[in-house]
Symmetry: C2
Subunit: 909 residues, 2 copies
């Protein structure tokens, strides 16, 4: 079917139609005529057609815009008459006359292009007011103050938008008058003052333009329409079109719509409402209204609105109509609507309808209910809930409506809320928690040695570090509320106190509360709401699992985390870091012994022999929890110096504990120092230098598996992951160590273990040479944290100094440590996926960086064909939903493109 635009041109006999009326229950346009009427115009026509009482008006089509620019800024000769005809129709429908001094019809004039486009002229309200009609309006509304306020607003908008006088000049006058009258708020100006403002506004116009403000409403309208078309080619609009590749000849339409007023007496009013409860999702009409008031009165909060149900008593007929309208709207738009209405003289008008904002809980309930009501499909339900919002359902929250003293704000690194007494050292956190106290651990920043303290605390607050600092990553991993990078506070750990920028001092033992969703820090004990997983949530997750293609695993280092993740639906472990186990109190001395012995093969073996049964025990527990599901275990990754003590005192203590001379310990600390630990002797480089360590870890894994298979008949599927591989030969050598360990253990136990050996892809070189690496790797897991650090060349510990500015300046749209930098790091991943699968078509691909829990990244992972994503336990439901959304979006895109193909081929016939 040829498009409307062409058709109107091809009607040969009649004069071309340029103006489309809407109102009185029907419209000349409809939703399909977006190109001709613009988005706004088409939507107003559509609402009118389905019987929604919107204030009537007419749309001047985009063709006029095209004509205007094609003909040297002249209008079609028939346009003026057509506008007159439509204006007459509007007067008739409204029962008011344009320029009538007693009951004036006022209109708004708005632009409206086929594609929403900032930069163009927006809105002129109250057009039709002049020195005479303003008095009529004052009488009609019985509110001279309202009338003059409307007039001065009109003059200001008209003067600025149509006449091009700087906005600040009007504001300046307003400020002057306020000063003269000794008031501070606009609303405090009385009618006299407003009249004075109007007088000075008009003076300003004369001064600036050399002519008076047009008093003739028709002249006002003509000038306003002209201003809209002119604004199509203002520099901001041109730039916007260039940036967004919008054709310059698309043109804009102009919407002229009647103004309606809710303050014309007790038969008038105004209100806002939601078609369902936006807080709980319950299916009930929800909102409030005011009799004899304008919309802004509801917002201003001078009068207290009444609940919407009360409207039934005041205006039973209107209420009934409103009920029909809201149901119709919800059905038409197939989603919960947020509506604004005005009743003018007993007549209901819908001023606005839009999809209503809602809590996560409501979002889930509404989506599931609407499927049950057969209003939407399961696929649509999946798309209705924002995965990011789901987080709210998985953590305690600060209860609303309580008085709290906010003392600082940091980065919301891990959601939830925490209330506790402040401690400044990890040990204290452990000790106090053991005494049954609730504590919040406050540190300058955290290090791996603080992990036990972090686990014991209700929440963590750090003064330094970004969204992927140690505290943030570990906090999220633990599902523990965490606020980081709180530059508002200065922490004196030794003195056990911190001071806010406002000088408030908080000492050990004082109570504070953290909001992990906002980053707010409060003094005292806030009340919390515990998370509640409603039945609808479960249903939605079930649908998500049916629809998604991507697997969802978890990053978990402990049986506890593994258990939580499994209860949240994780289908395996995508990243089990073995070094976290090394920090346990009973292990760390042995680990240190091993490190100090590293170049003495015999002593090294002795230390490793002590570690093996410990690691085996850990793995057994985790395998038991995850039984039947794959578990990816990453061999030792961090540089050895991370495990060593820092101060001389700690070294002396260690010397006594493990019986190694202090000097030897000190020497190891000095020798292992690195300038850039991120790019140092870590990951598989340790395995290359000390294959004994990897051998021990591999044996611990396979012995654990063998014992469970043999003794407990549990299915175990270990996937051994070699970290930081940059060159296929590294993997080749390390794989040999693992395969030999597996053989040895399987022979010794007489058991067959199904296992895989693969690698992290986290070094750019690995991504680029993935085709070679896949010769050895049975799986890849994208370590996008490090891939981002090395690929973009900034360490997450240091990037805090410039990254916020980078995001502010739009260099990166989002923090690349939170949401994957798809254009750069994502491109590397694509190269790796393509390369890896070209060598090994059945290569298993996953992601285990922090990004694995970010919905946008998950969609990207779906697109490039990964097999699974892996994320913190508390992000598993979010990932399941995001994965389902990605699959649904793809399906829909395919359907749409198929439809296009069909349409094209049909047209060709």
């Amino acid at each position: 079917m040829p498009c409307k635009r062409k058709s109107s041109k091809s009607t040969s006999k009649k004069a071309p139609k340029y103006v489309y009326f809407f109102g009185g229950g029907k419209a000349e346009g409809n939703a399909g005529m977006r190109m001709l009427l613009g988005g706004k115009g088409a939507n107003l026509a559509e609402m009118t057609n389905i019987g929604i009482p919107v204030p009537p008006g007419f749309t001047i089509s985009t063709e006029v815009c095209a004509y205007y620019y094609k003909h040297g800024k002249k209008y079609p000769p028939t346009l003026k008459a057509e506008i007159e005809k439509n204006l007459a129709k509007l007067e008739k429908v409204m029962g008011k006359k344009f320029g009538d001094p007693n009951n004036p019809l006022l209109v708004s004039v708005r632009s409206g292009a086929p594609i929403s486009m900032p930069g163009m002229m927006d809105t002129i309200l109250n057009l039709g007011l002049n020195d005479e009609t303003v008095e009529g309006l004052a009488r009609r509304t019985n509110n001279p103050r309202f009338a003059y306020d409307a007039y001065r607003r009109f003059i200001q908008m008209f003067g600025n938008v149509v006449l091009g006088i700087e906005h600040s000049k009007f504001e300046h006058i307003l400020e002057e008058v306020k000063k003269e009258r000794g008031v501070t708020l606009d609303t405090e100006l009385d009618v006299d003052a407003l009249k004075e403002v109007v007088r000075r506004y008009k003076e300003l116009i004369k001064q600036e333009k050399g002519f008076e403000l047009p008093q003739d409403p028709r002249k006002q309208l003509e000038m306003a329409i002209n201003a809209v078309f002119e604004s199509w080619n203002n520099p901001r609009a041109i730039t916007y079109r260039k940036l967004n590749e919008i054709p310059d000849d698309l043109g804009t339409a102009v919407n002229v719509q009647a103004m309606v007023f809710g303050n014309l007496g007790d038969n008038s009013g105004t209100g806002v409402a939601f078609t369902r409860d936006p807080s709980t999702g319950e299916k009930r009409f929800f909102g409030e209204f005011l009799i004899n008031a304008q919309g802004e009165d509801v917002v201003a909060g001078i009068r207290t609105p009444e609940p919407i149900a009360e409207l039934k008593k005041h205006m039973p007929k209107v209420y009934k109509q409103l009920e029909q309208v809201y149901k119709k709207l919800e059905k038409h738009y197939r989603d919960m609507q947020d509506i604004e209405f005005t009743v003018e003289d007993g007549k209901l008008y819908l001023l606005q309808t839009r999809t209503g904002k809602r809590t996560a809980k409501a979002a889930v309930k509404i989506a599931v209910d609407m499927v049950k009501e057969k209003l939407i499909s399961k696929e649509e339900a999946i798309l209705r809930v924002s995965p990011k919002q789901l987080d709210q359902l998985l953590h305690p929250m600060i209860a609303p409506n309580q008085e709290l003293k906010k003392i600082a704000k940091g980065l919301p690194a891990s959601p939830g809320a925490a209330v506790g007494q402040v401690v400044f050292h990890a040990e204290d956190a452990v000790n106090w928690a053991n005494e049954g106290k609730k504590v919040v651990l406050v540190r300058q920043e955290t290090s791996p040695e603080d992990v036990a303290g972090m686990a014991a605390a209700e929440g963590i607050l750090t003064a330094r570090g970004g969204m992927t600092s140690h505290a943030a990553v570990v906090g999220r991993g633990m599902g523990k509320c965490c606020v980081v990078g709180c530059g508002d506070i200065t922490v004196y750990e030794d003195e056990k106190r911190f001071v806010t920028k406002d000088g408030i001092e908080v000492k050990e033992g004082d109570w504070i509360s953290l909001d992990g969703n906002t980053g707010d820090v409060y003094l005292g004990q806030a009340k919390l709401i515990e998370p509640e997983i409603a039945g609808e949530f479960k249903t939605l997750m079930k649908w998500a699992d049916e629809l998604r293609v991507l697997g969802v695993r978890t990053n978990a280092d402990t049986p506890h985390d593994a258990g939580v993740a499994r209860s949240f639906g994780a289908e395996g472990i995508g990243l089990c870091r073995t070094e976290h186990m090394f920090f346990a109190e009973d292990r760390i001395p042995v680990v240190r012994e091993m490190i100090i012995a590293r170049d003495d093969k015999e002593a090294l073996k002795k230390a490793l022999d002590k570690l093996l049964p410990m690691q085996k025990g850990d793995f057994k527990e985790i395998f038991r929890v995850m039984k039947g599901l794959p578990v990816t275990i990453r061999l030792l990754d961090p540089p050895l110096h991370e495990f060593l003590p820092h101060t001389d005192e700690e070294m002396k203590a260690l010397s006594e504990q493990i019986g190694v001379p202090f000097e030897k310990i000190k020497q190891a600390v000095i020798e292992l120092h690195e300038f850039n630990p991120m790019l140092g002797h870590r990951g598989c480089r340790l395995g290359i230098t000390y294959p004994e360590i990897y051998e021990m870890q591999a044996k611990a894994i396979f012995e654990a598996a063998a014992e469970l298979i043999k003794e407990e008949k549990i299915k175990v599927e270990p996937e051994v992951m070699i970290p930081l591989v940059g060159h296929v030969k590294e993997l080749e050598l390390m794989k040999e160590v693992v395969v030999n360990a597996a053989k040895e253990v399987m022979d010794r136990y007489g058991v067959k273990i199904k296992y895989k050996v693969g690698t992290m892809i986290e070094v750019p070189r690995a991504a680029i040479t993935a085709d070679e690496i896949a010769r050895e790797a049975e799986f890849f897991s994208f370590g996008t944290n490090d891939l981002t650090q090395m690929g973009c060349g900034f360490s997450r510990d240091d990037a805090g100094k410039f990254l916020p500015e980078y995001i502010e300046k739009g260099i990166y749209e989002k923090d690349p440590f939170v949401s994957l930098d798809q254009a750069g790091i994502g491109k590397m991943m694509e190269i790796a996926v393509e390369g890896g699968r070209s060598t090994r078509p059945d290569l298993k691909l996953g992601i285990c960086g922090e990004h694995g829990g970010d919905p946008d990244t998950i969609e990207f992972c779906h697109k490039i064909g990964l097999n699974y994503v892996s994320c913190s336990p508390f992000r598993v439901p979010i990932a399941r939903l995001a994965a389902a959304q990605a699959a649904v979006k793809e399906k829909m895109a395919k359907k749409a493109s198929m439809a296009r193909v069909k349409k094209t081929s049909r047209r060709r016939k």
Copy 2:
């Protein structure tokens, strides 16, 4: 023409020919029959054909090997008779008989595949000896000791290679006998002892194999031939073929060749010689000989050989023949030859000829001379000189033949030699040098603050750091002898002394000498040879410039370096680091002032206003030196903390110097600390945060250019380079700063400046998104140091802990900081080249990393289509030669592939 192999099969009537004779002036094979006769066999035939007197013999073709494996390890029925026939011919040519107890013919048996292939059986010498013939040999040579030594060697080789008895068992017997006789060297064993060794060897064989050592020479030969064919399929050979993709059915040939002896009396002798002087390249026959001796006697050094010219007196006829032979060989092989010859009973035999090793000086002279002699083309001459060797010609060297006390060995980081008194601090180096003393600066490691001291020193020695550590990079840049990572010494900087691992203490003021070509450290003052650039060197460089396509620029930060580079043929500056200028004594306080003021716009501007004229002065000087040539200037790159003092004392001194409170300086030092400076707040990230700094630098550049153009009419072509760009938007923002500065300056001076703005490609993300970055960049310069660090994920300061092991284990073939990792980082460069040129076809591409002076990398850069390479001034001639070689190789490869195409198309007709 069908290949020889097929042809021999297709001769239908006659029995197939399997054995090819060479000797008596002609051979049945030739150099073209490599597939059939193997490399060695074909070459022996070729030499025989051109009249070179090689010991005669015959080759059993590769077809026999194929037959052997095809027919279940059986030989062709006619083979035995054919071998007999050839053996008879050999006996006739040699005038000796196989197994003759009086004058036995002895032979060597060697494998020889068409492609040289380690892993196969190598050589059996002296075959034909047995208990009887050994006595005959003793009589004939009048040297029973020689005869029995030959016999025991034969048994050992035969026992090991043919009979498969472990080598160590023979060695064990030899050691036993030596012990019993109370001697330590093999040569000290007398004939009795050797007879005892032979007895025990034979006993061992009987014990191990159950049979006696075959006494029948024919049986020995048969078994040796069989062993060669068997070795074709030993595991080492199979693995080698698999790794190098050599077909398994290629097969090996067997060469049976007469043994000749130079110790049969005064009419015999042996010698080694070069066809030209390998040390100077002079065209004269050069070598030495011994009368009545075997080759090993020359090597053993028991008797002093005579100069080759003396041979004329002893054996005028032989000498004349030798002259003809060496000339023929040089002409045939078209290169200087290193030959071994033996005279047996007045008869000359060439045992070996190979391309002779030579010094750089000789290589250059020989190559240029041979072009003049019309022996080779200019292209061939270019390929004859190793670019790496050229280094020798550009620096002073330790004079040979002097007694030196070597006390330690480090990494040869920058070539040349240095002699000086030891100092331990940069300041001392400057002060002592000012007093006219020659010093060697010894440090644990160097930092940017040591640069002035390094410049003042003759050479630099550090205990830590690798081939691309600060000391190494700066040393090479300065063309200054530098030995780094010398773990043999412990440096006590505060105590002004170092101690070697052997306990030798060296104090301030002691003299040491460094050899930058070997890494050797000597106590005392070594004599040096100053570099000498002979006329031929200039000629060769001229030819290189005619042939190369790649431009060659230099990395230079000072007018002095720029001048040196220009005199060495640099065609511009590829990298001028602006921060090196910042470390000058008069600048650093101002730079520090700027850093401390960084967040106070006014104070920052004040400091920058002081720096601008200084930078402008620097640029003017450099532009003047490089006049007419492009100069690429990189804006500030290192993190700011690198410029700050480290100790409290230094901070206090600075506080007094610049009048800023100590606390403020200390705070800046703390705030600017970074965990991974490599991945920190540096490069264009500084420009984004403090655009004022880049603006100042840009203005300094353009003002310098404008003043030179205006006042001195000098052509200036600045190329402003933005470092560490990872995202196109960074470049977009920084380019704006530069372009605005350029406009402002050009307007102010009323001068037009031709300039470019481009970027380093050193962040992996930049390489991957080069298509986007090229929208803004007018040139790319690959910063392969950082690209390697980030791409491979190891910092060069830390990689010293594992990289040596990586290279040892073959993970990387070469140090990726020295020679580009082509498979990984090179692939990134290729992606960037392709991406960049897809957006901007005329994009100028260069490399300015350390790799720019590495010949292999230069060849790679030529292949991927860069426009130029840039390297340290002292590497410029090396780069010119390497670039020419790359162009010549490409031309030759193209010619060869064209020839293949022609051949194929002709065959198709």
